[in-house]
């Protein structure tokens, strides 16, 4: 038998691409549902206190209104059911500005929105904690994070020849997926179907069920397509269950979609961080100590602290280490996972400090990093399943033309622009999570098709496509004979598309299911084969019309013996206008070592997407709070500046050939997060190289470079 060429590892275009560009892919509220009503949320305009009275009379009388739901008439929900951030109309208490305090349901969206404007709320205000600049010194240890110590940082720092001690600040960032959070709730007797954009299908199912006091089997989540999530659709928020509540109360299906303005205080955020980093080193650049002290904020009742110290734990070989977290409870929406949680912000601090140290040592920043490359994971002593940081740096340097970089700032000028180069590394853990999948084979004459089913999520990043590729290779079928069904909690349970575990977990279980069904067909034939036949051949030779099997996959047993991460090196070239301080990232290169790349085309899109967000972090994005009210003044995409096309220069992504034999059977590592890690530091380091100005408070807007 001739070996068929593998489709895995080739740049297959998205199999769902045509559906998307022709508008046929049904996102949450696109699903056709009959007799649907529309719900609009209304929100608190104070940050702390309680509602004394809420006058809904005018709203209730407004044309088309079916129901106005507030804490007064909302059904009792389980607040510990797994919905994040409270905001479920369970009491008159207000804990942050923009908390949901009610819901208007009407025949049309416009009628509901208008009626919401007619509601009058009388508050009893309390003093609110809204000013992080004043509160950040009052931080306490988080509940779930101990300080981590190795050796004696203070002694090393005190006696060091070369050191850097600086504080790096990042603002609040919002996820702002293009598709705001949206749900259709439709009850069928005791069961509720929730068409809801979800990164974790089973997580959304469990949280909704528990909060609504139902069993999981009474709740079905349908989420075939997601218009971006970036972590904000990982955990689920009040809007999901409020849609179900509204549908129950009006006894009709209900659509509930957030407006862009409502997104800033409905579905989490990445919190503001102060990160104090101290590095010390010998004169030849060997690190002696690293301390990374993080101060941040969380919500009043719930706590979420992003792990900004994670990169510092694993990036460099350093004998003395301290990582600590302090958190202030504030009257703000609960922070949550945001692309590269902790690592994207943490790496800005660590990798800026490394650049500062290299400058003090008069050492090339690439050499400084190579000098401190750890042979094993310094946080736990485990061997790496694979690590290619040095190759990323070296191949990247060559591809980027790093030798053209001037060691001193302000030495590279063209016309009215200063040019600078920067480098920074990143990492993100790589894990496989338990997942199940069913593969179904169907024969029609000699034509065999396969259907793959699992409750996976596709954030828009290519899950459908890589699973079709994986199944095509495992079953030896053409890719167009594979149907992929995901995004439905009625399908076998699967990991979420979060924490860079999606591709690894899904591809492995699909591969396992395809091998298993082939084994079953071989067993069923009762024959011995000289070479292993394919499933399709067996379907035909054994005249099997239909067969299906289910696989339940876990990571390999010895996976925990290794430390498994994706690694990268980021290279930025910036051009800074001398007069105006405007920065353009003219070239950006990310070199990534992430095991087997299932699809270089979708992988490249993932990486450059992460890079673009990292450039946004570095230069443009910032959510600003007015501490007098605790509200955001940046409530639209006109105020919250994600990079526009014109902000982005030439983007290149290179993947290092990396064979990982230990992390999981297929040798796949996640790439969803690592693409943003290290990017902001690379840009900030390039800005320093261009201008001699070290900006330690993001974003680097023109005013900071005047």
């Amino acid at each position: 038998m001739q070996e068929k060429e593998k489709v895995t590892g080739t740049p297959v275009s998205r199999i769902d691409g045509i559906l998307k560009v022709t508008g046929k892919a049904d996102y949450s509220t696109d699903h056709p549902v009959k007799n649907v009503a529309y719900a609009v949320l209304f929100k608190s305009t104070i940050a702390a206190g309680r509602i004394k009275d809420i006058d809904t009379a005018a709203a209730e009388k407004s044309p088309g209104v079916l129901s106005v739901i507030t804490y007064k008439n909302a059904p009792k929900l389980n607040l510990k059911g797994g919905i994040r951030g409270g905001s479920m109309l369970q009491s008159p208490d207000v804990e942050f500005f923009g908390q949901h305090i009610g819901l208007v349901v009407a025949e049309t969206f416009e009628q509901a929105r208008h009626a919401a404007d007619l509601i009058v709320v009388d508050y009893e205000k309390k003093e609110a904690k809204t000013d992080f600049e004043k509160l950040h010194q009052q931080g306490a240890k988080p509940k779930d994070k101990e300080d981590e110590k190795r050796g004696d940082v203070k002694a090393a720092l005190d006696s060091a020849e070369f050191k850097v001690e600086e504080t790096y600040a990042t603002p609040i960032y919002h996820h702002h997926p293009l598709e705001p959070h949206a749900t259709i709730a439709e009850w069928q007797g005791e069961n509720v179907i929730l068409y809801n954009s979800s990164q974790i299908i089973n997580g959304a199912q469990n949280a909704a069920a528990s909060t609504l006091n139902l069993k999981p089997e009474n709740v079905r989540i349908i989420s075939p397509y997601i218009g971006g999530g970036f972590g904000s659709k990982g955990g689920q928020w009040g809007n999901l269950v409020l849609a179900a509540v509204a549908a129950k109360m009006v006894n009709r299906p209900v659509k509930l979609a957030l407006t862009r303005q409502q997104m800033v205080n409905s579905v989490g955020l990445r919190q503001r961080n102060y990160q104090k980093v101290a590095l010390s080193a010998t004169k030849d650049g060997k690190l002696a100590s690293l301390s990374h002290e993080i101060t941040t904020h969380s919500a009043i009742k719930e706590e979420f602290v992003e792990p900004c110290g994670d990169c510092s734990k694993v990036m460099y070989d350093v004998p003395n280490l301290l990582i600590s977290y302090r958190v202030v409870a504030m009257n703000m929406i609960l922070p949550t996972y945001t692309r590269g949680p902790g690592k994207s912000t943490g790496s800005f601090a660590l990798e800026s400090a490394m650049d500062e140290l290299a400058f003090k040592l008069n050492m090339d920043p690439i050499q400084l990093r190579i000098k401190n490359e750890p042979e094993r994971d310094p946080s736990n002593g485990k061997p790496w399943s694979s690590r290619t940081t040095v190759q990323c740096l070296q191949e990247g340097a060559k591809a980027f033309g790093w030798e053209k970089r001037k060691a001193q700032p302000r030495q590279n000028q063209l016309g009215n622009e200063l040019i600078g180069y920067g480098v920074a590394c990143g990492t993100y853990p790589a894990h496989q999570r338990p997942s199940s999948a069913i593969v179904k084979l169907k024969r029609d004459g000699e034509d065999v098709t396969a259907t793959i089913e699992l409750a996976a999520a596709d954030l828009g990043t290519g899950t459908y496509t890589i699973l079709a590729q994986t199944a095509a290779d495992s079953l030896d079928l053409p890719i167009d004979k594979i149907i992929v069904k995901i995004g439905d909690s009625d399908l076998p349970p699967a990991a979420g598309a979060v924490g860079s575990v999606g591709a690894t977990s899904y591809a492995n279980v699909v591969n396992d299911a395809c091998i298993k069904i082939t084994d079953e067909l071989i067993a069923r034939s009762g024959k011995q084969f000289f070479t292993r036949p394919t499933a399709a051949q067996l379907m035909v030779s054994e005249k099997v019309d239909n067969i299906q099997t289910r696989a339940d996959s876990k990571p390999p047993e010895n996976a925990e013996d290794y430390s498994s991460h994706s690694f990268n090196a980021n290279f930025a070239e910036v051009r800074v206008n001398i007069s105006t301080g405007m920065v353009k990232v003219s070239r950006f290169l990310a070199v990534t070592g992430a095991g087997k790349i299932l699809n270089p085309k979708t992988a490249r899109s993932q990486i450059i997407g992460g890079n673009v967000w990292g450039i946004g972090m570095a230069l443009t994005e910032e959510s600003v709070v007015d501490p007098r009210w605790g509200n955001f003044v940046t409530r639209s995409l006109g105020d919250y500046h994600v990079p526009a096309n014109l902000d982005i220069g030439t983007m290149e992504a290179i993947f290092i050939r990396e064979e990982d034999k230990f992390g999981n059977k297929l040798g796949v590592k996640g790439i969803g997060e690592v693409g943003i890690v290290g990017v902001a530091a690379a840009v900030a380091n390039a800005v320093f190289n261009a201008t001699g100005k070290r900006v330690r408070e993001l974003p680097i807007t023109p005013d900071k470079l005047l």
Binding site: D117, T580, T634, P702, D703
Partner: protein
């Protein structure tokens, strides 16, 4: 969004009459700003008079009158069409640059020239009905004065309002001595110099312009000038496109030998209206076009700036931007 009546105007005078008849009516042209504001309940008209079908889109040479030889731009022409018309590209490249520096391609395709002049501030306190704003709700206070005011005014603000006017196009029009032609319900026409069209906030920040309710912008007239080969629109912003100006400068020079015969400078992002830098202009006339002279002029203009807590950088940025825009202008758009 409040419910509203949707009506259509048959001709220009009828449109003005319909508007005059209802103090709570507004014209609907491109809708790129008004509809956003209605959705957020900032604007609450009870009637929208659709004027998009009125024949006010022409761009043509002016054949008589005081602005003979100049160019007239229809009030309902689209921004994209104005920016790309050969008469504008050839004779008023400053205007082309300014229009194309604003908004996005999609918005410019919808937005009209008259509507551009009437767009409202992007002050976030104005946009959020939960916040105080004297412009939106007279007497409620100014949220920005003691608040987040990085984007706000450094010239001409009052205790009542520190908002800035957002248009790029109008900054170029101010520099080019443009004139706004308006017609009222009786069919009478009048002209307003663009530099006088927008107001400073004073005690009545709710009034953006000197247009009366019931008047319609029929055209914007550009007088003939000799600035075409020495003009430049510089826009400094937080991202390269689709962002409002931190500071912008429209600069135009006419030379007489090696001396400046005429100078026009207008600034955006610094005041409640396009800010004509008359002091700087005056200082440049008769001088050589050197960086030193540009700098003296810029410093003279910016000396009167009164920055707020978060926008102190705009003074230095204004200085630099005036100098750079003049340098770009004298070099025909090259640095």
């Amino acid at each position: 969004m409040r419910p509203f009546k949707y009506t259509n105007a048959k001709d220009v005078t009828a449109a003005a009459k319909m508007l005059a008849a209802n103090p709570d009516a507004k014209f609907l042209a491109g809708g790129t700003n008004l509809l956003d504001l209605m959705k957020e309940d900032v604007e609450q008209p009870n009637e929208l008079i659709d004027i998009t079908r009125l024949a006010l889109a022409d761009i043509k040479l002016i054949s008589s009158g005081t602005n003979k030889g100049g160019t007239s731009i229809g009030g309902l022409g689209k921004n994209t069409a104005a920016a790309n018309h050969p008469l504008i590209r050839q004779n008023y490249p400053l205007l082309t640059q300014a229009i194309l520096a604003g908004a996005s391609g999609q918005i410019r395709n919808m937005a009209t020239n008259g509507g551009n002049l009437l767009q409202r501030t992007r002050c976030s306190y104005f946009f959020d009905v939960a916040m105080p704003c004297n412009k939106r709700e007279p007497g409620s206070g100014c949220g920005a004065m003691e608040g987040i005011n990085r984007m706000h005014a450094i010239f001409g603000w009052s205790e009542k309002c520190v908002a800035v006017y957002p248009s790029d196009m109008a900054v170029a029009l101010a520099a080019l001595d443009a004139v706004v032609k308006v017609r009222n319900a009786s069919g009478q026409e009048r002209t307003i110099l663009l530099a006088d069209f927008h107001r400073l906030p004073g005690d009545t920040p709710e009034k953006d312009t000197n247009l009366s309710h019931g008047e319609i912008i029929t055209a914007i007239e550009l007088p003939k000038n000799n600035f075409a080969d020495k003009s430049y629109y510089l826009k400094v912003r937080d991202r390269a496109s689709y962002a409002f100006a931190l500071v912008s400068v429209a600069a135009a020079l006419e030379m007489n030998g090696n001396k400046i015969a005429q100078a026009r400078i207008a600034m955006g992002g610094v005041a409640h209206k396009p800010w004509r830098a008359f002091q700087a202009e005056k200082m440049l006339v008769g001088k050589e076009a050197t960086e030193a002279n540009f700098r003296l002029a810029a410093e003279a203009e910016m000396a009167d700036a009164k920055p707020l807590e978060h926008n102190k950088f705009k003074v230095e940025l204004g200085n630099r931007s005036i100098v750079l825009a003049l340098q770009m202008a004298i070099n025909g758009g090259k640095s």
